[in-house]
């Protein structure tokens, strides 16, 4: 695995005329104060509440957090895949220089699949059962590039080889149900990579796979990320997976990022009580690939957000201050932030 510290520094920096000064690399993706609400007649669900983060080129950011914490919604808003009629999004999302929330429907379509791609958890349901694998790849290529059918097919074959699908030629004309789970997930990765995206969003891409297959797919993703120089945002329930693949980790709770830092910092020196609670049971002898342990208490009600820290009702160390005022992200160490009033008093 690559050195965690060097990932966000561009190698060209040394050759620039300003060499010697601090190298400035602009982020591949920048999310600023993102809020996402789902409005329906009887309730408003506050799924994402003031999320901000930067993703540097070639970085792998893992988002972890319990079910319903807004991980998928954050990812889908980066591609604007949420149902427009009932979704209200505010804030700023910038990917590769494009202001995602300001684009027209047509413009965002040109980004999707070309500059930003997404892979989903369940390849069986995400791939179209009545189209061949080859067709599903060529279709993605031809949506963005004016290539001939045979050229697209040649590229599809290359992609299947890129994701190490054995006897790729015959798989081009196979239907999804004819492949095993692991191959299917590789095929979906091939679809996502068909136009060599700059940013890959992976929403629990290995959760539905067997443990051994899971490792293989994970290793493959990491290799591809390196080969193609993609930025990756990777959602997972699994701290073991996060430890393997992440450069940075964002911990989400109730639609907020409560802790953000390099993978090493967050996993070794967790600052937020929620992160600690999650890690605690994992460290004490749980299988590495087990799901996040369940923390006592109910998840926050996203229809009625409480004042103060949203984790306070379930927090073992909360004070009265925590119920009154919401904490914001503050630095725990260099490039390591957490949103908790008690960071300094916890050790």
């Amino acid at each position: 695995m690559r050195n965690l510290q060097t990932t966000s520094v561009a190698p060209v920096a040394k050759d620039m005329p300003l060499a010697g000064k601090i190298p400035v690399v602009s982020p591949l993706a920048r999310v600023k104060d993102l809020n996402v609400q789902f409005r329906s007649r009887d309730a408003t669900v506050h799924a994402v509440n003031g999320v901000s983060f930067d993703l540097m080129p070639r970085d792998v950011l893992c988002i972890i957090g319990e079910s319903g914490s807004g991980k998928s919604v954050t990812m889908k808003s980066m591609m604007r895949l949420l149902p427009p009629k009932k979704t209200v999004m505010t804030g700023e999302i910038e990917v590769n220089g494009h202001k995602v929330l300001d684009l027209s429907e047509r413009q965002i379509r040109h980004l999707r699949g070309a500059e930003i791609s997404m892979i989903f958890q369940e390849p069986m349901t995400a791939l179209d059962p009545v189209y061949t694998i080859g067709r599903q790849i060529t279709e993605a290529i031809r949506a963005h590039e004016p290539v001939t059918t045979s050229e697209a097919r040649r590229r599809a074959l290359e992609l299947l080889e890129l994701v190490r699908i054995p006897s790729a030629v015959s798989r081009l004309d196979a239907y999804p149900h004819e492949l095993s789970g692991g191959l299917r997930q590789r095929a979906m990765i091939a679809v996502a990579l068909s136009c060599k995206p700059k940013l890959l969003l992976a929403d629990e891409p290995t959760t539905a796979l067997d443990a051994t297959v899971q490792i293989q797919v994970l290793v493959l993703l990491r290799q591809l990320q390196d080969e193609l120089g993609m930025g990756v945002i990777f959602v997972t329930h699994d701290i073991g997976v996060a430890a393997q693949i992440a450069d940075k980790i964002a911990v989400m709770y109730a639609g907020e990022i409560v802790e953000f830092g390099s993978a090493r910092d967050v996993l070794v020196n967790p600052a937020h009580p929620y992160t600690r609670a999650m890690l605690a049971s994992t460290v004490h002898g749980q299988a590495r690939d087990a799901d996040l342990p369940v923390i006592p208490g109910d998840p926050a009600d996203l229809r009625r957000l409480v004042a103060g820290c949203r984790f306070a009702p379930r927090c073992g160390v909360s004070k009265s201050l925590c119920l009154e005022r919401a904490p914001s992200l503050v630095g725990v160490a260099a490039h390591h932030d957490a949103a908790c009033h008690l960071i300094n008093s916890l050790t």
């Binding site: 895949l81 999707r112 369940e122 179209d128 009545v130 189209y131 949506a143 239907y175």
Partner: protein, 318 residues
Amino acid sequence: MIGYIIKRMLYIIPVCLGVTAVCFALMYLAPGDPAQALLPPDATPEDAAYLLRLYGFDQPVWVQYGRWVLRAASGDLGVSLQSQRPVFREVMSALGNTAVLSAGAVLLAFVLAFILGTVAAYNIGSRIDQASTTLSITGVSVPNYWLGIVLVIVFAVELGWLPAAGMGSAGSDSFSLTDWAQLRYAILPIITMSVLPLGIIMRSVRASVAEALGQESIQLLRAKGLPPYAILTHAVKNAFPQILAVMGLQFGFLVGGSILVETIFNWPGTGFLLGKAILTRDVPLLQGTILVLSISFVIINLVVDVLQSIFDPRVRRT
């Protein structure tokens, strides 16, 4: 694929045997003695015995059944008691006439239902959706004989645009789909018969396309950056096998003919023939008609299954 089709065809053999058994049993289920209906009131017992022998009614049941099946397999369904013409010819000509109506009705229903249902599914809850749902409920609930009469009154009697009944001067033997002078006669009955399948197919198109649009695979298509029409194409292709099944079933029902509609329009189809056979207690005609209709139904189902396996790769597993 070929294996699947062959296997599917082998399945029809037991079904056909079952059908023949039921058709044959009809003769015994019908009250009264079939020979009795043919005899004049003053016939002697000798006359009756002669007739029984003539039609083979004096043989053991299984011999009668065996003979009947063998003859039926060679296209000999006996002779109509009333018209004295071969049942097979009568049934086939009626089937041809009904096929004109039912194919026309299913095609019309399918095209309309497909467009309206897809548009409705793509815009669930919109005005268009509500309007097409209303149309579909109307189609399912309006009795078609009533609609037939209304259409005749409006378009034949009042406006005089289309003929009210019959098959035109050429009659049923040389009905030509390409000849407008004859095709005119089919228009009102086709519309009348299309309303019920229109409602049913539209509901099924709307439901299955909407279901396909809600699937996770649609998310991936959007994430690939496909334009809306390409996404809709995927949804329709996913829904198509299901729509095809509903359509095949409706076509099968229509081929059975509608006694009421064919009577209103005086259209010599299978429904018409069936009604005649029942009313005149013409047992060979009844048997033959039911047998041919049942086998047509079985064949339509076979064709639908094969088509389904072409459109849905998941069905092809043998």
